[in-house]
């Protein structure tokens, strides 16, 4: 059971109040883009053992989308942050580094 804190309404709630939205920080490559980029955008997903970044929606609450960092192995939630960002905030990255030294995920580490 995952317990998230919604960054918009501040509620600490368990995962049945939220709905998962797949991987976070995907950059869209639409019509006219390179085939390799398009394929990567559409199909290629991370499947890490350890630190992972995901999108979640507070569907039975304020209805807002947000990003969350969690560990796929221990189900520990490192933190949540707003969806209007291109990468996780530095303090969250530091927190993950303290707990999982040497982690990396896509271009972040």
């Amino acid at each position: 059971m995952l317990i998230f804190e919604c960054p918009y309404c501040g509620v600490h709630a368990e995962e049945t109040e939220f709905s998962p939205g797949g991987e976070a920080h995907l950059k869209r490559f639409g019509p006219g883009s390179d085939d390799t980029d398009f394929e990567r955008y559409l199909f290629m997903r991370e499947n890490p053992k350890g630190v992972h970044f995901e999108r979640w929606r507070h569907v039975n609450g304020c209805g807002k989308w947000f990003n969350a960092a969690r560990c796929t192995m221990t189900l520990e939630v490192f933190g949540t942050y707003g969806a209007q960002t291109f990468e996780p905030p530095q303090d969250l990255k530091d927190k993950i580094t303290a707990k999982r030294p040497g982690w990396s995920w896509r271009d972040f580490s």
């Binding site: 309404c9 509620v11 709630a13 368990e14 109040e17 209805g63």
Partner: protein, 189 residues
């Protein structure tokens, strides 16, 4: 009172907590940028109540304002007042960018009353409702069983639950089951 839309007698159940369908309320959803001063001031003037803080509900005599999300407020009034209130809000906001919708017909409201009211909610919603953690003045949007709902405590022995009309029957049945005499847990009493 008969339901104004269906003409059916309001639902009522006397368990160890009384579950009853509340007289229909006027409900108006307002979405907009509440950080914008002109917008917020115009709206405040129209409804005559201060805005609630994060996850709070402002209780006044006949009308209430509930915090729904960072850009959404729910204004509750009596069924009779809602049309006037709606007009007043629309007039006050003028051409400011906002969404103002009368959602009264979309909702059904229940009142739970009895000393064990917290317990009935705790059985259905994944919310920490321990005295001291959740108190009157706070509104919580969550789920009850399998449906989305919002609730708040009017006092230590009374709570209100709002859900969509389409799931009102399901909501009544599960509240009834949770309030069945003999199923008391007596955690907090």
């Amino acid at each position: 009172m008969l339901d104004p839309l269906t003409g059916i007698e309001a639902m009522h159940f006397d368990g160890y907590v009384t579950v009853s369908q509340t007289d229909p309320l006027g409900m108006i959803t307002v979405r907009g940028n509440f950080a914008s001063k002109p917008f917020a001031n115009a709206l405040k003037k129209a409804i005559g109540i201060d805005f609630p803080g994060l996850r709070q509900i402002t209780l006044a005599d006949t009308s209430m304002v509930a915090w729904m999300s960072p850009d959404e407020l729910l204004i509750l009034s009596t069924w009779e007042d809602k049309t006037n209130l709606m007009d007043a809000i629309q007039k006050a906001l003028g051409k400011k960018h906002a969404l103002v919708v009368d959602v009264s017909d979309a909702r059904r409201t229940f009142t739970l009353a009895g000393p064990n009211v917290r317990e009935v909610i705790a059985k259905l919603a994944p919310v920490d409702i321990t005295p001291g953690v959740f108190e009157p003045g706070e509104i919580r949007r969550t789920r009850f069983g399998q449906v989305a709902a919002a609730f708040w405590l009017v006092s230590q022995e009374e709570a209100k639950v709002i859900c969509f009309r389409s799931v009102g029957d399901y909501m009544f049945k599960q509240l009834k089951a949770a309030a069945t005499p003999g199923s008391e847990l007596d955690i907090w009493n």
